[in-house]
């Protein structure tokens, strides 16, 4: 049973109790939707297939949009959503890969997903698998220095199967001079600055990769209120 983009607001409402959601709760929604709808080679039937694409949500905070898309695409049952955060629920305020089929990485503490994704990308390349790794981070999450370690190294290693997508809602207290994309470009990543609400632009950016360089998609959304 799959749902459409128009139903995501209702699915999120099952978790939040609200019928309408502001930009902050939905900053990741369009990117995650387009990834599962058009980009990622993974389905509820292939969550354990070694050849599947991996989507690593490093910014685990505010996972309602992620869960709504997983429900819309059949990875989790819609009837699990109302229990969000309760003792018997698989769905916490940060996702746990041991509890939710299709969640690749348990996150919450910031700055872990991108370095781990570098390891996944290397592991896939060592096994000569064509699968790609796409890691979602927040612009404030990039404050954590561990991200810099990953960006520098991944650029040198030429990990063409790795894509980082930064949801940029300008929530980093000190910001990024000249834009956060510069941090990636300086390490020879291919970078795309796009409107994080424009589905066509999102899909195009994720398809525009290079075989020997990692890709960074900077998805600009409304500034955090």
């Amino acid at each position: 049973m799959t749902a459409t983009y128009a139903e995501l607001d209702r699915l999120m409402g099952l978790m939040t109790g609200d019928e309408k959601h502001g930009p902050s709760a939905t900053s990741t929604l369009d990117v995650i939707w387009v990834l599962y709808d058009q980009v990622l080679n993974v389905t509820p039937q292939t969550v354990d297939d070694p050849a599947r694409d991996r989507f690593v949500v490093s910014k685990g905070h505010g996972p309602m949009a992620f869960y709504a898309v997983l429900a819309a695409k059949g990875f989790i049952d819609e009837d699990q959503l109302p229990g969000f955060g309760s003792y018997g629920s698989r769905l916490g305020h940060h996702p746990d890969r041991l509890l939710i089929p299709g969640v690749e990485f348990s996150s919450g503490s910031l700055g872990h997903g991108l370095p781990a994704s570098v390891g996944i990308a290397h592991g896939l390349r060592a096994q000569r698998r064509d699968a790609r790794v796409i890691c979602l981070v927040g612009d404030a999450e990039y404050d954590e220095g561990s991200n810099s370690e990953a960006v520098v190294y991944a650029g040198r290693a030429g990990l063409g199967n790795l894509t980082a997508v930064v949801i940029d809602n300008q929530s980093s207290s000190h910001g990024w001079v000249g834009g956060i994309g510069r941090r990636f470009a300086a390490e020879e990543w291919l970078t795309h600055d796009i409107d994080g609400r424009d589905h066509e632009a999102i899909a195009t950016a994720f398809r525009s990769t290079s075989p020997d360089r990692p890709t960074a998609v900077i998805a600009h959304v409304e500034p955090k209120g």
């Binding site: 390891g119 996944i120 592991g123 060592a126 520098v152």
Partner: protein
């Protein structure tokens, strides 16, 4: 205090400092680690080695042959451990290595979250033990590593006292999917005691109490208990804790653990094993994690009472209070 400032680049490998055991006939543990791991890289395509500059020169040839499986990330320990987690998630068997201070303590949250919390396996290999290089000071010492690992679940902790033990432990760890910490440090013992299924070796039996020597502590413990009426057990693996051997050989319910890391690290294990018996225990090991002293490993053995004379005095006092 300006002692720290005199060392311009504290994370570079020390120039001109001898490797532990270099002068003896038994090869040192770090050399054995490199030899065994290089063999494993060639024989098992699942093995992936992640380094953060330390020991990278010992894997240069393998890195050229297997660039996606032998990876030096530069001086980036957080990345090294996170990548080990990612490699395991992708189906590889990662080995990450640095000095214990950097692989466990500097990258601690990565150990906790990117391995343990993800429930994936890896082999972490920490060298320099508690004070293999005392002249390097506190920054290169990790007496708290095993105590930290004890805050997590389901880790195997090897503390080899001989290169042959290390070789067997690494091969066994490589063939498993467990979370394994291999603690390399100290002067190797003259003799190896390879064990099956990580069981402890019974070196002798006595009636006054049991002394457990962990890994490289055996050398000094053997001299310390000469002539004492004690059971002597040798433990090159401390997690899992060998309940069966300790209980089945226990005569007087008095247990002395001699460990090359923080004193009392295994006290909770002993208390658990003997919870149903009135007993006494003594935990010997590193008593001061930051003494602000340089010198030699022998100097620090004496500082912590881990030389044979200090051990004998404290073990004797404990057995006959």
């Amino acid at each position: 205090m300006t002692a720290q400032a005199q060392q311009a680049d504290p994370k570079r490998p020390e120039p001109g400092s001898p490797e532990p055991g270099e002068a003896g006939s038994v090869p040192d543990l770090r050399t054995q680690f490199a030899a065994t791991t290089n063999e494993l890289i060639e024989s098992d395509p699942r093995i992936a080695v992640v380094l953060a500059e330390i020991s990278a020169d010992r894997f240069a040839g393998a890195a050229r042959r297997h660039p996606d499986r032998v990876i030096n990330v530069g001086i980036r320990e957080q990345l090294m451990v996170s990548m080990a987690g990612g490699l395991a998630l992708a189906g590889m068997r990662p080995i990450a290595h640095s000095f214990g201070a950097f692989v466990i303590e500097r990258a601690w949250e990565q150990v906790k979250l990117d391995l343990d919390h993800q429930d994936v396996g890896a082999i972490l290999v920490g060298s320099y033990g508690s004070y293999d290089w005392p002249a390097g000071g506190r920054t290169h010492q990790a007496p708290g590593d095993v105590a930290l690992i004890d805050t997590l679940s389901d880790w195997v902790v090897h503390v080899p006292g001989h290169p042959a033990e290390l070789d067997a432990q690494l091969r066994s760890a490589a063939a498993s999917t467990s979370r394994v910490y291999v603690r390399i440090g100290g002067e190797p013992n003259p003799e190896a005691f390879p064990t099956e299924k990580d069981a402890w070796t019974v070196l002798r039996r006595g009636t006054a109490g049991t002394v457990v020597a962990v890994g490289p502590m055996l050398r000094n413990v053997l001299r310390a208990v000469a002539g004492l009426d004690v059971t002597l057990l040798y433990a090159p693996t401390v997690r899992p804790f060998d309940v069966d051997t300790l209980r089945s050989t226990l005569d007087a319910p008095r247990v002395v653990m001699v460990e090359p890391y923080l004193a009392g690290t295994s006290a909770a294990q002993v208390a658990r094993v003997l919870a149903d018996r009135d007993h006494r225990q003594l935990g010997l090991g590193v008593i001061d994690p930051d003494p602000h002293r340089y010198g030699t490993p022998g100097d620090h053995d004496r500082l912590h009472g881990l030389d044979s004379r200090g051990l004998r005095r404290r073990i004797s006092e404990f057995l006959t209070p």
